[in-house]
């Protein structure tokens, strides 16, 4: 059937209409797919709607796709006129079959800009296209354009209003933002589940957080904990783990920044300088020692609190990583995640120690001094930390020594302070983890990754001053 040009014309127009009608009949369609069916069954539409799923029988695709494709190109070349309705229908059909057809998205972008098309509609179309083509770059790009413009629109509306209405609006705005955020996270999760290591989906997720939740520690924190199970079930998904690395990095920057900027809000401008570890702050600190020290102390306390939280996050991440490596041997993703997390932590700790040594000078004589400088104030763990920075000495030293001495000070401290302070991820603990794996595991891949990690520790971390 449908051999002559005329017949194809009639058929395709009917199919496009059927698709449009299917959406009108069921606005909750949540998935699109092609049904393998080499031949047409007589007198039946190739568009099938079952539950909330829209199916296109495969035999008609070879007629449908070239036809709508050509029609749109002719319109673009101004050789053929299409009204807005027809344009929307044709681009919808086209994009469901081939969502990487940029011209079709561009036509829809123009429709959006002229106000005929609601952005919600395109977010929905994009979601459907991703249900069949979860990687489609053009769909993700279009999505970012939509997200950006909706956000701008919302903000513009917000600026135009009076102050009283503004408060109400700002609540609405944040609700709206939370909804959009949730919706985007859902789309990304679905796409990530449909295609392993879906770089495009995870990049979009990162982009969304950067543009809609920048600086929102709670959102980042929630993301980190909600993704925990997901990565545990997708232990070879590089992109998923990379997302966690991004979250950790953002969180550690945010947490140390928030605490650093608190004094600017709370105390006099004179005070700001004392939190900045520069040479001039030394002079300031002497004058402050008489009068306003509590402020500086509070700021420092905040900083420590931020660092404690970061410390806790990194500790948990390393625990998760160890657990996964031991449960699922032979996945390189897990080892490279470990490498990245440890590297982040290593750099962070170095910065923190630099800060401490400067501030330690300022605050000398203060009774809480040692507590403030290192999360675990004991002299013993101080020594462990000091050693781990000096990697060369560390690497040559036997591990049992550190392995045995490390947990103890922490335990005693837990009792003393009632605060949970686990052993920090450090070179000795990493080395003992690796040798533990090498001792127990016979999986050749796992051994190879463990040895590579060890070599990396020795050459990259160990060689640093």
């Amino acid at each position: 059937m449908a051999e002559t040009e005329e017949e194809v014309d009639v058929l395709v127009q009917r199919v496009v209409k059927d698709i449009t009608n299917a959406f009108k009949r069921n606005p909750n369609i949540d998935e699109c797919g092609v049904i393998p069916c080499p031949e047409a069954r007589y007198n039946r539409s190739p568009i099938v709607l079952v539950e909330n799923k829209l199916g296109v029988e495969s035999w008609c695709v070879k007629f449908l796709l070239p036809y709508v494709h050509n029609k749109l190109l002719l319109y673009r070349q101004r050789k053929h006129w299409l009204d807005r309705e027809a344009l929307m229908d044709i681009t919808c059909t086209l994009l469901l079959l081939n969502p990487d057809f940029t011209t079709a998205w561009n036509v829809r972008k123009e429709l959006l800009q002229s106000g005929v098309l609601h952005p919600e509609k395109d977010l929905y179309l994009g979601k459907l296209a991703l249900s069949k083509f979860p990687k489609s770059p053009e769909t993700w790009i279009h999505r970012r354009m939509l997200d950006k413009s909706t956000k701008q629109q919302q903000q513009q509306q917000h600026y135009g209003e009076t102050e009283q209405a503004g408060a109400e609006r700002s609540q609405q705005l944040s609700d709206q933002l939370a909804r959009t955020l949730h919706q985007e996270m859902k789309v990304c999760s679905d796409a990530a589940c449909r295609y392993p290591s879906n770089y495009n989906a995870w990049s979009h997720r990162i982009w969304v957080l950067q543009h809609m939740a920048k600086g929102n520690i709670k959102v980042f924190h929630d993301e980190l904990s909600s993704m925990r199970l997901w990565v545990s079930m997708h232990v070879s998904d590089h992109s998923g783990f990379h997302y966690r690395q991004f979250l950790l990095k953002e969180l550690s920057t945010e947490l140390s920044q928030t605490s650093a900027c608190i004094p600017t809000i709370m105390t006099s401008p004179q005070h700001q300088s004392s939190t900045v570890p520069s040479s001039c702050s030394h002079n300031h600190s002497h004058t402050q020692a008489n009068g306003e020290l509590p402020g500086a102390e509070a700021a420092e306390d905040e900083r420590q609190l931020g660092f404690h939280t970061v410390f806790q996050l990194f500790h948990e991440e390393m625990e998760l990583c160890s657990d996964l490596i031991q449960s699922f041997p032979g996945h390189e993703t897990l080892w490279s995640h470990r490498r990245h997390v440890f590297y982040l932590w290593h750099n962070l700790r170095k910065e923190h120690q630099q800060h401490c040594s400067i501030n330690g000078g300022i605050m000398s004589g203060h009774p809480k001094d040692s507590d403030l400088c290192l999360p675990d104030g004991d002299a013993q763990s101080c020594a462990v930390r000091g050693e781990s920075v000096n990697g060369q000495r560390q690497a040559s030293e036997p591990m049992e020594v550190d392995g045995a001495s490390l947990p103890e000070p922490c335990d005693s401290k837990r009792l003393k302070r009632g605060v949970l302070l686990p052993g920090p991820p450090a070179l000795p603990s990493e080395h003992s983890f690796v040798s533990g794996v090498l001792d127990r595991c016979s999986n050749p891949e796992q051994r190879r990754f463990a040895l590579a990690y060890k070599k990396w520790l020795d050459t990259v971390i160990g060689q640093q001053p």
């Binding site: 797919g33 092609v34 393998p36 799923k53 199916g55 695709v61 232990v235 031991q326």
Partner: protein, 198 residues
């Protein structure tokens, strides 16, 4: 990591027959599920037919791994998983299922049994529970238990076939695969060898 199907089969002298099966095809697109299910059944039966009694094997096919265990009494089980899923846990599951099955279903019923006549309902529960290997199997971290060297590894389905036999022919001849599934198989083959058109 994901388990897609878990089935118990009886290995007859020439053919194997399916006794009971459970599927989790939620990760496949809706319109593919029925075909995928038929293929998993077809593959499981074929693998049991080609596996000798008293042996364990893992067969790799694209991004899937089919783990099989056929006991000396001709009772066999197949679990189809993705490549991430730990192999050892799969074999623990197979041991457990076969043991339980042979306790609940009389061995006289095996040779002539089929999913309608066999009364054994635990497969769905097992399949659901084992989706998270760490929760289902507390021993995940202990690697020593199972002697992995005794598991035969086939890198493709083709290596199970006899000389001159072709998977395409077996698919075409199969009575258990519907036309839609056969069409699905052809497109999947094509897409695997060349870039995706649609």
């Amino acid at each position: 990591m994901k388990l897609y199907s878990l089935s118990v089969l009886y290995k007859g002298p020439t053919k194997s027959n399916l006794l009971k099966a459970a599927y989790d095809l939620s990760s496949f697109s809706f319109f593919q599920r029925s075909s995928v299910q038929e293929f998993m059944t077809f593959t499981s039966a074929l693998i049991v037919e080609r596996t000798t009694q008293g042996s364990r094997a893992s067969v790799k096919e694209q991004e899937y791994l089919c783990h099989v265990y056929v006991r000396n009494d001709n009772l066999g089980a197949v679990v189809i998983a993705d490549t991430e899923y730990p192999q050892r846990v799969c074999f623990t599951l197979l041991d457990k299922v076969l043991e339980e099955f042979s306790r609940q279903v009389e061995s006289i019923d095996w040779p002539s049994g089929n999913p309608e006549t066999i009364n054994y309902k635990a497969l769905d529960v097992h399949l659901a529970k084992y989706q998270n290997p760490r929760e289902a199997d507390a021993m995940t971290k202990v690697q020593a238990e199972l002697d992995e060297t005794k598991i035969i590894l086939h890198n493709t389905m083709e290596s199970l076939l006899e000389r001159g036999e072709k998977l395409d022919d077996l698919v075409a001849k199969s009575e258990h695969l519907g036309n839609q599934s056969k069409a699905f198989y052809k497109t999947a083959r094509k897409q695997n060898s060349c870039c995706e058109v649609m």
